[in-house]
């Protein structure tokens, strides 16, 4: 694929634009999407370390990491979808949907929990596929399509659970085959020094690393940025836009299944009404981490930092002895501040 012989344009003078200066390393670092979130995370960490006494203890940090991880796994998938230019409002209830499905399928059909989990995975991926397919084929904004699936799924969660178990929660499955191994994979913990690390923290890091690699080092990643940045241009140069978008929705479905399995193996019974509203937490984490709502810009690392900021604030307020009723106010204020700061950061760095 060389053109050396072909294009004899070498003799034409290279025009150097003297108005364009090379960016230095520091500046390049500063305009990374997650930079603002990183500064924010450090600031919040220092703040709570000072004002909230137990914040800096090993047990607290373990708890914060755990809280961040369950949000972070989903935030990772939601961020990648957002980079691809779409939204998924049904992601919160999709988590509950997966764990309900796995639990009830295994319980009522007397299956090994792993088979229940596998069936639930098929369902979760199908929901993702359907979301993606409808968005791509109808060209209706994903906000509306997934708003529809949000309410449909939460209706299914409540109605089917009541229909099958006669209650709003599923039956206990802790005595069924596959429980122990499932718990080891999705809900165990181990010690590192005085830290009690939940396994979801490891999975959270794994999700973030894999997503980062895919986004920046593979052609699929290139395509994700392209379909989010300008879908028509991407199509014109041969990017399979439809497949990429449907794949992204299915990835969110996969992450929802993963967190759903954690819920199931960690709490044994699943409340059918939970999960509603969590989709906003994932979106907040992604946006705080520097993802643009309009697509084509952001990182998985940013979403992880966003989730960590969420975890720190959620627990930090408690450790500081403040009334936790204020948490949501802080969350909203932080989102606004993060969006403004990210914007200012980007503009400032781009102008220098």
């Amino acid at each position: 694929m060389s053109t050396d012989a072909a294009v004899g344009l070498g003799e034409h003078k290279v025009v150097h634009d003297e108005r364009v200066k090379e960016r230095n390393r520091l500046q390049r670092l500063l305009i990374r999407p997650e930079m603002g979130a990183l500064v924010g995370a450090v600031a919040i960490f220092i703040l709570f370390s000072i004002i909230a006494g137990p914040f800096f203890e090993a047990a607290s940090i373990s708890t914060i990491l755990y809280g961040s991880s369950t949000i972070g796994i989903m935030a990772c998938a939601v961020a990648v979808l957002m980079i691809g230019g779409e939204f998924d409002l049904s992601s919160g209830v999709a988590v509950t949907f997966s764990s309900l499905a796995a639990s009830m399928l295994a319980y009522n059909l007397h299956l090994n929990l792993w088979i229940g989990a596998a069936l639930a995975l098929v369902l979760a991926l199908s929901v993702g596929f359907l979301n993606g397919y409808l968005v791509v084929k109808t060209k209706i904004p994903s906000f509306l399509i997934t708003l529809g699936s949000l309410f449909m799924l939460s209706g299914i969660n409540l109605a089917v659970t009541k229909l099958i178990s006669g209650a709003v929660a599923t039956k206990s499955v802790s005595d069924m085959a596959g429980w122990d191994s499932g718990q080891a994979v999705f809900a165990s913990s181990f010690h590192v020094g005085s830290f009690d690390i939940r396994i979801t923290v490891v999975w959270w890091l794994a999700f973030t690393l894999v997503a980062t690699y895919v986004l920046f080092k593979t052609r699929i990643g290139n395509w994700i940025f392209a379909v989010g940045g300008d879908q028509d241009s991407a199509r014109a140069v041969g990017v399979p836009v439809t497949k990429v978008k449907i794949g992204l929705f299915m990835f969110v479905g996969f992450a929802a299944w993963f967190v759903g399995m954690h819920l199931l193996f960690s709490f044994n019974t699943v409340q059918s009404g939970q999960g509603l509203g969590n989709e906003f937490l994932y979106i907040i984490a992604a946006v705080v981490g520097g993802c643009l709502l309009t697509g084509g810009y952001g990182t998985a690392v940013g979403a992880a930092i966003g989730a960590f900021i969420y975890g720190m604030t959620e627990k930090g307020i408690v450790y500081a002895g403040w009334n936790p009723d204020w948490f949501k106010f802080f969350l909203g204020a932080m989102l606004l501040f993060a969006v403004l700061a990210n914007n200012a950061f980007r503009n400032y760095a781009a102008k220098r």
Partner: protein, 273 residues
């Protein structure tokens, strides 16, 4: 990518040689509307064919036929002398016919090098076959330098480049990925004087390198500066078909502006004063 860019065999503006692309009495109707009628056109290697026309003259329809987006309803399209029908732009691309559209098909937020290789990314030869980012950066730099654009940093988002530079990146991309015939859809329409100059210089460079260039514009000045051959469209019909030697800029401008119609209009507006 199997196609490689090779210098087309006939460099000189050719008389009697087989044109890269030829249209014979091509027409296109959309239902009962005849958008194009009886168009004859030849694109030779090493020549710029300027297609001029006002809005609605049928320029876009003509490009769409050559680039494989639409099929003609009458007449023949010949590539290298062989009658051809393109089912899709991909087939036209395989034959080396690349179109640079007005929107350029670039993703503004992505770095220049990622845009350059979008859809045709280079990957490393060994596991895990990740993107060969450095290779792509280097290629982008050299390809852009060849066309006279010096970017200190191909990692900047392409949206931060000037219009002319973006246009040149899009052309360089088409050339690099195997084009022999370049269809440029109004490349100077949105550009200032200096930026247009950059693009026009590159059009000449591409012509000298042996590419067949189809240059669509409604600016007769730009067309006359680089064109070897002019085709003027008006309301779907071919009004003028001549070479550079046959026509002066004044005449071309006059024809483009509507010729007799313009005189009549001028008379109507100013005649009584």
């Amino acid at each position: 990518m199997t196609a490689t860019v090779e210098r087309p065999e006939h460099d000189a503006p050719s008389g009697g040689k087989v044109p890269l692309v030829e249209l014979k009495h091509v027409g296109k109707s959309y239902g009962n509307i005849a958008a194009l009628q009886d168009i004859c056109l030849r694109v030779h290697a090493g020549e710029v064919t300027g297609i001029l026309g006002d809005n609605g003259a049928g320029k876009s329809t003509l490009i769409k036929i050559i680039s494989g987006l639409h099929q003609q309803t009458e007449g023949e399209l010949l590539v290298d002398g062989e009658p051809t029908r393109f089912a899709s732009p991909a087939e036209a691309l395989e034959k080396g016919i690349a179109t640079v559209y007005q929107n350029l098909a670039v993703v503004p937020l992505m770095p220049v090098w990622r845009n350059f290789f979008l859809g045709q990314e280079l990957r490393k030869k060994s596991f895990p076959f990740s993107l060969d980012a450095n290779g792509m950066r280097a290629t982008t730099l050299t390809e852009l330098a060849k066309m006279g654009i010096d970017l200190p940093d191909v990692d900047v988002p392409i949206g931060s480049l000037s219009g002319g530079q973006r246009q040149c990146v899009a052309i360089a991309r088409a050339v690099f990925f195997g084009a022999r015939v370049l269809i440029l859809d109004e490349p100077t329409a949105a550009l200032g004087v200096k930026q247009s100059g950059v693009v026009l210089k590159y059009v000449t460079a591409a012509k000298e390198a042996g590419f067949g260039v189809v240059f669509i514009t409604h600016n007769p000045h730009h067309a006359h500066m680089v064109g070897d051959h002019f085709v003027l469209l008006n309301r779907g019909k071919q009004k003028l078909d001549c070479t550079y030697d046959d026509i002066t800029l004044e005449h071309l401008t006059q024809e483009m502006a509507g010729g007799d119609e313009l005189e009549a209009l001028s008379h109507e507006l100013r005649g009584n004063k």
